[in-house]
């Protein structure tokens, strides 16, 4: 089973990358863009096929490794679920 994890900065945490992208877009002449935030996308393939168990394992992975929960949130998307 394939899954995608979205990792984003918590609200209020400074995002220098997002801010820099926003500035660069402005300089390239793209107006009307703001609140740019950059996060991570992690795609994995699991041998586990049961969605419940897959989700539990992924949550565990996020807590232990994939996300820095001090400053980041994560969302798990199992394939097919959108």
């Amino acid at each position: 089973m394939k899954a995608t994890i979205h990792i984003t900065l918590k609200n209020g945490v400074l995002d220098p990358q997002g801010k820099a992208i926003e500035n660069a877009l402005g300089q390239l002449g793209f107006g009307g863009v703001d609140e740019v935030r950059q996060g991570k996308l992690i795609e994995v393939n699991l041998t586990e096929s049961d969605p419940k168990r897959a989700e539990a394992a992924l949550t565990d992975m996020c807590e232990k490794l994939l996300a820095n929960t001090v400053i980041e949130n994560y969302q798990i998307h199992l394939d097919g679920e959108a």
Binding site: P16, Q17, A20, I21, A24, Q27, L28, Q38
Partner: protein, 222 residues
């Protein structure tokens, strides 16, 4: 001869490279500001190391879109010699003057140390003062120096003798394909490399292996 060093807000090897150019040429290069849209006609243009615009998003991506780079590309196409060092190499690939891309180091850490290089092509505008196959020592300092290109591109680089430097046997610090440390365009006038020749251009800093890059290009252009 006119030399220009392009200064992005996050460049941090601009002064270091200017010192070497001045030593080789007897005259300080022009320091050209990233926001300018005009660049006085230059025989030599150097894109120095650093973090151009913080290297957010992808290294060199925002710099490649800066006003001055339109000028750099235009002058390169008209025959100016262009050297991109480290971040400058990343900018050259992002703006399409050189093929491929510099990905994150295989070890995932920034690496700053001396590396042994083989001068694979001594016919570029910058490498004439080295022997072909000569081994030199030049430091690297980067987090994204892992040269990657698809197989066709790599083959073309080999066929057209566009690999300028490789890391000598076993000394690849970043996992680069074919141990590539630096490449050039088929004319040999545009060179991009991850190692920093300007950091090893005087004995007080450990050696002079990098100095011949600068004396070489000055000799070639004057």
């Amino acid at each position: 001869m006119q030399a220009s060093v392009i200064v992005f807000p996050g460049s941090n090897c601009d002064r270091d490279v200017a010192v070497c150019i001045e030593a080789a040429m007897g005259k300080a290069p022009l320091m050209a500001w990233h926001g300018d849209s005009e660049l006085p006609k230059s025989d030599l243009i150097v894109l120095p190391g650093g973090f151009s615009y913080g290297d957010y998003l992808r290294c060199g991506s925002m710099a490649a879109n800066s006003p001055i780079m339109r000028e750099v590309v235009a002058q390169a196409k008209k025959g100016a010699a262009v050297l991109g060092i480290c971040n400058g190499f990343q900018v050259l690939t992002e703006c399409g003057l050189l093929p491929g891309v510099l990905m994150q180091n295989k070890g995932l850490n920034f690496v700053c140390r001396n590396t042994r290089l083989t001068v694979t092509n001594n016919k570029t505008a910058f490498t004439a003062q080295y022997e072909a196959g000569e081994e030199i020592t030049v430091p690297v300092a980067h987090n994204e120096g892992n040269y990657f290109a698809d197989d066709d591109t790599l083959k073309r680089l080999q066929d057209e003798d566009c690999i300028a430097f490789t890391y000598a046997d076993g000394d690849n610090p970043n996992g680069a394909c074919l141990d590539i440390a630096g490449i050039c365009d088929p004319s040999g006038r545009i060179v991009g490399m991850m190692p920093h020749p300007e950091r090893r251009a005087e004995t007080a800093l450990g050696g002079e292996d990098g100095k011949r890059m600068f004396s070489g290009i000055v000799e070639a252009l004057s």
